[in-house]
């Protein structure tokens, strides 16, 4: 095994114990944790305000609670936790990751367009499968579910292939 550490981040064993403890707290006080559902509750709240008939006519919004639910509070909490973490962290927070700059340059527009597309795809895929990295893989595999393990294998395999294409250097392609 490589001897390098996860610094400046936490070592992974205590980190994993902490996150598993939070997962179990959620199983005890709510049920299986999920985060892609938070996108549905957010949008449901939006449509209930501007187009209530539309929100009521769509099964995907009917099957989820609206804002004012655990799901919505959880994703807002994630942002608060990330904020506290970021403000008390010694490493600089970047808008465009270094690996991306090395391949595509520092253009923000290009990176933001790519992450918009990436965000579109992760939610489209998650809603079709019924959950995301948390709601389907971590929650599911914790409950020993086949769907969670199956989804986990597929997302790791495909994202590793995609990253190879996205980050392959220009030299590899043309020279």
């Amino acid at each position: 095994m490589s001897t390098q550490t996860n610094a400046p981040y936490w070592p992974i064993v205590p980190g994993a114990i902490a996150l598993a403890g939070i997962m179990l707290f959620i199983f005890a006080t709510f049920g299986p944790p999920a985060s892609s559902s938070g996108f549905v509750t957010t949008l449901k709240g939006f449509f209930l305000e501007i187009l209530p008939e539309y929100a009521g006519s769509k099964e995907h919004y009917r099957m989820m609670p609206g804002p004012g639910s655990w799901l919505m509070a959880f994703v807002l909490g994630m942002a608060i936790g990330g904020f506290i973490g970021g403000r008390t962290f010694r490493q600089k927070i970047t808008d465009v990751p270094e690996a991306w700059i090395q391949r595509y340059g520092a253009s923000r527009t290009r990176r933001y367009a790519a992450t918009f597309l990436g965000g579109f795809l992760i939610l489209l895929g998650a809603r079709l499968a019924g959950g995301c990295t948390l709601g389907l893989f971590l929650s599911g595999a914790t409950q020993l579910s086949i769907s969670g393990i199956y989804f986990g294998i597929v997302i790791f395999a495909v994202s590793m292939l995609t990253a190879r294409l996205v980050y392959s250097s220009r030299r590899d392609r043309h020279d």
Partner: protein, 178 residues
């Protein structure tokens, strides 16, 4: 109302911990996908091992609510493929992007906006897509326990599988120049 406070508390703790291990850093995630950073994938597998052990103990004491999502051969697989492409491009998941927005990463805000658009498109076509992709190959709420017949054996199997995964990642994921 208590649900809101529980969700907010759990979310805050969750967001803080994933920030602290580096899961909200898309540079780290890109390197993990390129097999040059072993910590994030090993962390995820470790979390599952610890929480699966804890959940079995909790269930034996009658604590907690579980809900196994069904396995649909086509929808779970196709959803995973679409998800994997987006994850490889952006380096964010539907959960990590909320924490990364809080952390102050501008590209995560665009992931979140793209995610809202993706959700809106799926929700609009739910009535067509679910009968087309999800329902025909829905095998039900399968678990490893259904396959091996005993929850303790199933837990042991999961620990062995994920443990092998952690060892393989330690063996084959190499930093630059290592």
């Amino acid at each position: 109302m208590i649900d809101i406070w529980l969700g907010l508390f759990a979310g805050t703790a969750f967001g803080f911990v994933i920030q602290r291990v580096g899961a909200t850093n898309p540079h780290k995630m890109a390197l993990a996908h390129l097999m040059k950073e072993r910590f994030i994938p090993q962390f995820m597998l470790l979390v599952v091992i610890f929480s699966a052990i804890g959940l079995v103990i909790m269930q034996a004491s009658g604590i907690g609510t579980t809900r196994v999502l069904p396995t649909s051969l086509v929808a779970t697989g196709l959803g995973g493929i679409i998800f994997g492409i987006g994850w490889g491009i952006s380096g964010y998941c539907p959960g990590t992007c909320w924490a990364a927005v809080g952390e102050g990463r501008m590209d995560a805000i665009f992931t979140l906006l793209g995610g809202l658009a993706g959700t809106a498109v799926f929700a609009h076509f739910h009535e067509t897509l679910i009968p087309l992709f999800y329902s025909p190959t829905n095998l039900g709420q399968l678990t490893l326990t259904d396959w091996v017949g005993h929850s303790g054996v199933a837990l042991g199997l999961l620990i062995i599988l994920f443990g092998i995964g952690i060892l393989l990642i330690g063996r084959f994921w190499r930093p630059y120049g290592d």
